[in-house]
């Protein structure tokens, strides 16, 4: 039972992991991008439709990544180049992304003969758990570590790579400097605008893949509207929970994944709490995380110092 719960938690937590790592890259260059939900929705739509139309899993993945980047590009152009308010732009992107995604979904459904959209078997085959000979058959450990679909491994690899990139490479040093003090980075000869664009777009692409997970896997290959369903917002809070570290985001995402599937694994008849309570739980914990996260600020929880502030070199 516990094993099954953990496995489910990791599977459900994976889209959160993509969203969180994507948002960390945004926030590390000083941009609070509230458009995660929107970028994920656009990625969800692009990934699903590309898979539906081309029967290719790789095409779906690439389409989701590129669509996420395009959505992030809107945000980057507005906030980095035109210095628009980050919060408003991010919220607008969320609303736009959800709307666009649902619109395209409805349009495609109305054109299909069966009035439903279902991914072909060539793609759903890729979404089953990857079986690794020898390892997957191990008792317990095999199920806990080697029984997932490709996305789960991809997410963990991306998170670890992002952590290495931010904390162990010279480019990462520059990235963090931009988020801490863009004026200092500028004076040190770092191209602030380029650094911001690159990381916001990269983050958007990663969010897009997280969206594709929602539309392609959670509903076993059938298109439904609003498949992201608020995960993007939890990802924004998870960034704080993870202390802006991609490595910590792995643990945070799986913890929240656990909260989302908890209702299926609570022993029956022991504690009788309405199911609705469990649906609310992740969001309640999110609120708590935000409150606690802001309280430990004095201990220097590694919040990028210029988060939320646009940078204009000639400002007086």
């Amino acid at each position: 039972m516990l094993l099954k719960f953990l496995v489910a938690a990791i599977a459900v937590g994976t889209p959160l992991l993509f969203g969180t790592v994507g948002e960390i890259l945004n926030e590390r260059v000083g941009h609070l991008n509230l458009g995660v939900e929107g970028m994920m929705a656009i990625g969800a739509c692009a990934g699903f439709m590309a898979g539906y139309l081309t029967d290719s899993f790789a095409a779906a993945l690439i389409a989701a990544f590129l669509a996420g980047m395009l959505a992030a590009l809107i945000y980057a152009v507005l906030t980095v180049t035109f210095l628009a308010n980050q919060n408003v732009t991010g919220l607008a992107l969320t609303i736009f992304g959800e709307g666009l995604s649902n619109f395209i979904g409805v349009l495609m459904i109305s054109r299909s003969e069966t009035k439903t959209l279902k991914l072909p078997e060539t793609i759903t085959a890729h979404m089953r758990s990857v079986s690794i000979p020898g390892l997957s058959d191990l008792p317990a450990a095999g199920e806990l570590f080697f029984s997932y679909n490709l996305f789960v491994y991809l997410g963990i690899v991306i998170a670890l790579a992002a952590g290495y990139y931010l904390h162990r490479t010279k480019t990462g040093l520059n990235v963090r400097a931009v988020g801490e003090n863009p004026a200092a980075a500028d004076a040190a000869g770092i191209n602030v605008t380029r650094t911001k664009y690159v990381n916001i777009l990269l983050g958007g692409g990663i969010c897009g893949i997280g969206g594709a997970y929602c539309s392609m896997i959670i509903n076993s290959g059938v298109w439904i509207s609003d498949s992201v369903g608020g995960l993007g917002w939890i990802a924004v809070a998870l960034v704080i929970f993870a202390g802006w570290k991609p490595g910590a985001a792995i643990a945070g995402s799986f913890l929240f994944g656990g909260l989302r599937v908890l209702k299926y694994y609570v022993p029956k008849g022991v504690i009788e709490i309405p199911i609705a309570f469990y649906d609310m739980l992740p969001f309640l914990i999110t609120a708590l995380v935000l409150v606690l996260g802001s309280m430990k600020k004095s201990r220097g929880a590694q919040i990028p110092a210029s988060l939320g502030l646009n940078y204009f070199r000639e400002e007086r």
Partner: protein, 510 residues
Amino acid sequence: MAEQQTPYAIECRELTKTFGSVVANDRVNLSVRRGEILALLGENGSGKTTLMNMLSGIYHPDSGEILVDGRPAVISSPIDAMGLGIGMIHQHFKLVEVFSAMDNIVLGTPERLLPPKQLREKILSICGSFGLEIEPEKPVCEMSVSEKQTVEIIKVLYRGAQILILDEPTAVLTPQETDRLFAILRRMKEQGCAVIIITHKLNEVLSISDRVTILRKGRSIDTVMTAQTSQKALTELMVGRPVVLEIGRPEPEHPNTILKVVDLTVKKPDGSIALNDISFQIRTGEILGVAGVAGSGQKELCETIAGLTLPDKGAILYHKENLVGKSPAEIIRLGVSMSFVPEDRLGMGLVASMGMVDNMLLKSYRAGGGPFVDRRPAKELAEALVEKLSIVTPGVETPVRLLSGGNVQKVLLGREIESEPNLLITAYPVRGLDINSSYTIYDLLNEQKKKGVAVMFIGEDLDVLLELSDRILVLCHGQITGVADARSVTKEQLGLMMTGEFAGKEGEAS
């Protein structure tokens, strides 16, 4: 002379830069050779920083040309400036606080990252050749101001800068630290660097520079040889008319103790001690100077008296009434007024995006009855201040952040004085100000003193403290290391008290 044959390291010809309708630089000419220290002198708002920002690629000139080693150069970004060997040490340090000194130094350099050990050696060898001292692994946020400045200097040297520009480097240093900096600059000069130093402390100009270029209202007025000039001549060139360089010190009349601080202990939010069991008093009609290295507890002292911070122990008696536990509004109503000018000038006291009128209203809106705000008196007050303190502003509704530093400070101090306080606490009122504005502010303080106001003046320039104050209280690490009679104490004695090595309590025992 052979020296004349070599081209200038940097030469500016007719540089012009405008911000909207404000002409910050108007056809400015300037030149500096290798192995030479040029001082750039000018009042606030005369365009010194704008000019230097054009040389370092932060701003782009509207017209005119810059020659580096005799060749025309286009400097459109800090990277270009670096490529030409120009390094700028900004007045407000451009450092990433959470990074170590080492990370800050290599930040943005194009070549591959060296292994930490090699990097450390490279940095220490640069330090060695110029007599700089640094701990490469120390995070910048734990550093003192002078250490941060050292990091900035190493940063530009690491990038191979041959032309160094320092924007008011001594504004935040103690006399001893300034001497050390000047020794470093002289070594750079010997090694063939060209150095441009911006300052408006005239004694420093005379002691460090070879030539002086004077800017006034965005124009380069003149360039003179330092050896052939004097403080008086420089001031006249800078201000444009003869100025009397004297601070008056009227004798206090009928001094009565107005504020008595008893055994005050204050902790910082992180639990460390900011003020350790201090006791002193302020009397009406006197100016009490407060000296000390930045961060010795000055800020906490101001905040505690103003009611913004609760002390852990002790009392603040104002006319026998304890201020501890009273709200800032109650304390203001009792006639205690504070003008604190923080390092960034706009942090406390004024709302940067509001105009002068709205900033006046912040202090006075309670006076009017009813839910509506009467802007007329505030507007009149703002206009009166512009007139009286010759504040340069396009209009009283212009956001104060668009005014130059000196004018912002005049607005702040002017407003505090207009509220007719009995006790005026002013911290760093002349921070970064030019001579003329500084003397206007000293006069304002003396005027208050004559009216019987008790003035607490927290300052950084010891010369000024010695001339202006009646008594000087010295803080060191949150403790009072001495209260001296300003008429008899020497600068050296104060310097020693500031470092805690000299406990000379005079005049007043506790």
